[in-house]
């Protein structure tokens, strides 16, 4: 097989849409880090999960019924939206410092989704500090980070189909994505955590799985 023959299939691969059409008409998006996140989560007894996105009934069922988690739903997107609409984004970092009632080291897993992309640096740092605080040693945090220029002002609900597939369900937002974060910026944000796995998906989403080092 010649060099061109080897390259040609790769060209064809790039033409394949990242999202395979689902049977119900809603596209599915692959996830690589979720499975590892679930493995870490279920390794704990009666795991406690913190979900920073809007409540998704299917996700609650998935984590609650199937995995036996206790789930805290803390919709940070709603908080961000409220501050954006009210013109009080400057106050968001201070708000986030007292936003989470969870005790230090009390959460086994955090679904951060892509909330960091929509925040200014100060707010993102305040959020990252709080998430690092509440995460239990050996706990995991799953974050999504966009790598393509922001185009529109939409948030996304991530609906878990199974451990390797998500549905992306966009909904209106008052604020668009901010500047794209580089890897080193993300790592600095979560300086108390260690990058366990990082995946760059074809849909320009970077999935990063952080783990808090066991003390």
């Amino acid at each position: 097989m010649g060099l061109l023959d080897r390259i040609a299939p790769r060209r064809n691969e790039t033409e394949v849409p990242a999202a395979a059409p689902a049977s119900v008409g809603e596209p599915l998006f692959a996830t690589k880090a979720l499975r590892k996140f679930l493995i870490n989560l279920t390794s704990h007894e009666s795991p406690v999960l913190l979900d920073l996105g809007p409540v998704v009934g299917g996700n609650v069922t998935f984590f609650g019924e199937q995995l036996g988690c206790k789930i805290f739903v803390e919709d940070i997107f709603a908080d961000l939206d409220r501050h954006a609409r009210g013109g009080t984004l400057d106050a968001l970092p201070e708000f986030l410092k007292t936003r989470f009632p969870q005790a230090d080291g009390s959460v086994d897993g955090i679904l951060c989704w892509d909330i960091i992309d929509y925040m200014d640096r100060a707010a993102a740092q305040a959020l990252a500090n709080e998430l690092t605080r509440v995460l239990r040693p050996d706990g995991a945090l799953l974050g999504f980070f966009g790598t393509a220029p922001p185009r529109d002002s939409r948030y996304t609900k991530y609906v878990i189909v199974d451990e390797v597939n998500l549905k992306h369900r966009p909904y209106p937002a008052s604020r668009g994505r901010q500047a794209i974060l580089l890897n080193r910026d993300i790592i600095r944000l979560f300086h108390g955590l260690r990058v366990s796995d990082s995946f760059l998906l074809q849909n320009n989403l970077r999935e990063i799985l952080f783990r808090k080092p066991a003390s």
């Binding site: 409540v55 009934g57 019924e65 990058v195 066991a214």
Partner: protein, 187 residues
């Protein structure tokens, strides 16, 4: 209790005959105005204009369209918070269906169902929880079988549901916790 004799049902358009009071310890329940409603099952309806403050106990299904503050306990029965219902209370029931607003913790021995436009601000303890797409929820969800209606603050018989392990679980045993970070490109 509410079963009517079809032969004495008032003609359509006439006001319904007075109903006996419901078995609710606080507040005055208003019977369902729809005379054609099948009343084979005991259902009490607290109307829009009713405001109850205190402890609400019952042994039949209850629908709340009004305002309730305090505690609601319906052992072995279904509590429905209607679209107009506003609840600021601790709720204990067999099943809770929310179409209105609830502020407070909800404990159900069977199921909590938050329908479209329903809203719950509080912690839910129930073995089954369904949350519709347009529902609002803020709080925690604990689906392990602990807590029973009618016994607030006293969890009964914690039964942990079987937690199926995701595929690939065995990998964890082979991967040391301190394994170096992996950087991959895929999917």
């Amino acid at each position: 209790m509410w079963k009517r004799d079809e032969s004495v049902r008032p003609a359509s358009g006439q006001p319904a005959a007075p109903q006996p009071p419901a078995n609710v310890t606080a507040g005055a329940p208003s019977p369902r105005p729809d005379a054609s409603h099948n009343m084979e099952k005991d259902i009490v309806n607290i109307g829009k204009s009713v405001v109850i403050k205190g402890e609400l106990n019952g042994s039949e299904d209850l629908t709340i369209e009004g305002h309730v503050e305090g505690t609601i306990q319906l052992r072995d029965h279904v509590l429905t918070i209607g679209p107009n219902g506003r609840i600021k209370a601790q709720v204990f029931a067999k099943a809770v269906i929310v179409l209105g607003e609830v502020m407070g913790n909800v404990t159900a021995s069977d199921k909590v169902d938050i329908r479209d436009n329903g809203s719950v601000d509080g912690d839910i303890v129930s073995p089954r929880v369904a949350i519709a797409e347009g529902a609002h929820f803020r709080g925690s969800v604990d689906m392990q079988r602990k807590g029973t209606p009618g016994t607030p603050g006293q969890p009964k018989g914690e039964v942990k549901p079987a937690a199926p392990q995701p595929a690939g679980q065995q990998q964890q045993a082979q991967t040391p916790a301190g394994a170096p970070a992996g950087q991959r490109v895929g999917a």
